[in-house]
Symmetry: C2
Subunit: 249 residues, 2 copies
């Protein structure tokens, strides 16, 4: 393996920060009082050390807000997408149309940052009613780095499978939203059927099993939660996007 | 699950930064030119997105050096150790002496930061000769957070298994070093036998299999590399310490 050399690799210039055109932080607009500590909490979360948390620590609202609205979230996402694209481009694929890449939806294909920016960036407990009202608008923007990766995977003959914990009743608005955000084609859109119990991880693992039974090869799997990418079969290689706003088991 | 509430939890006051009493950064002593980008590279590394890298990007030497010698490395490690201790203290154990916790050694039980501080914090390619000369001195300090966790696990009746890619020929100096650093008792010290081929992950997975065959229950597993904590049986719960200096597959 060669040294990484220059960082970032060529061709990773950033797009205009479209999802950042949001109103400024509400509440704590200044620098976080205890930035280093919130940064370490984020380290713990992103490395799957800190699990089962329900809300962002209140003292970290400012820190997480600045992270999400600033350069860091975009840059961290770009590292993941760049690595994923390099991996995909290095694959030798048979070209029989059975190679798929799994994309989670929320905070992966689509960004709910416009919603969370008005709800304390994860400091407020999850509110299904208000979150679903947002989802039903169908206006979530793409996470730009995920969309860029999507556009690199399609020409390689890799098909896209969206696999989401969103419920089946939101299929229509999800289709509308994905297309509006720039995802124009996919092999499957797998949502959680009514009455499906258990964790997101169990649901998603089960759906990946079914894909393999159908003859698909899962060459890649991209999500913002560890529950998206753990559990066999997880895919030949998994990629973890940042998400310090919420935890799903 | 309750909210995390205050962060850090009570009782996580930091010890004096003993392993920081090193000479200042050599070479780049100032702030990194491109800190945010090196920070995102580190995110990619710590989340197992960026794999198979041989050296820290040269432009990130200053960033990684400041990270390692400053508060962040200690604080990030403390989050992991605190979470691990809380998990361990919540376990219901049968008390039959068969519950074990696996500790990796380098950058987990012991810190080689005094060595890496003189070798570019991972910017220089790995040099087995000079690294082994350092190891043979047997003076690596404990990673303080790991030692603290060790001291919390023992009274719970959890036995310690050290599992390391260090070779069997370094058993004696490793024993000396562990004791000198404050690890006074353990159930097993598993080193890599002569002629063992393959990746660290394969070796460690195989050793964990043997432990389970011997009737041990691996209740926890702590390492700085993903190859320490991936591969079934990985242990009931795994914990990933920070290490932006090198990658082992």
């Amino acid at each position: 393996m060669a040294s990484l050399g220059a960082w970032p690799p060529e061709g990773t210039a950033r797009e205009p920060p479209a999802i950042h055109l949001l109103k400024p932080l509400f509440g704590s607009g200044g620098l976080p009082v205890d930035g280093a500590t919130c940064a370490s909490w984020r380290f713990g979360v992103e490395t799957n050390n800190v699990r089962g948390w329900r809300t962002v620590p209140r003292s970290c609202e400012g820190y997480v807000g600045h992270y999400m609205l600033g350069d860091r979230y975009r840059r961290d996402s770009a590292v993941v997408a760049t690595e994923a694209a390099a991996y995909a481009e290095g694959l030798q694929l048979p070209g029989d149309g059975m190679d798929v890449w799994i994309f989670d939806i929320d905070e992966t294909a689509l960004s709910n940052l416009p919603y969370y920016a008005h709800h304390g960036f994860g400091v407020e407990p999850y509110n299904a009613t208000s979150f679903n009202e947002w989802v039903d608008k169908g206006i979530a923007p793409a996470l730009p780095e995920s969309l860029k990766l999507y556009h690199k995977l399609l020409p390689l003959g890799i098909k896209i499978v969206f696999l989401t914990g969103r419920s089946e009743e939101r299929r229509k608005v999800t289709v509308t939203n994905l297309k509006r955000a720039g995802y124009r084609t996919w092999e499957k859109l797998l949502l959680k059927g009514e009455g499906v119990k258990g964790t997101a991880m169990a649901f998603k693992t089960g759906e990946r099993e079914k894909l393999e039974e159908q003859g698909y090869r899962i060459v890649g799997n991209l999500g913002d939660q560890w529950s998206d990418i753990l559990g066999k079969p997880e895919g030949a290689r998994t990629f973890k996007l940042p998400d310090p706003m919420y935890y799903i088991s």
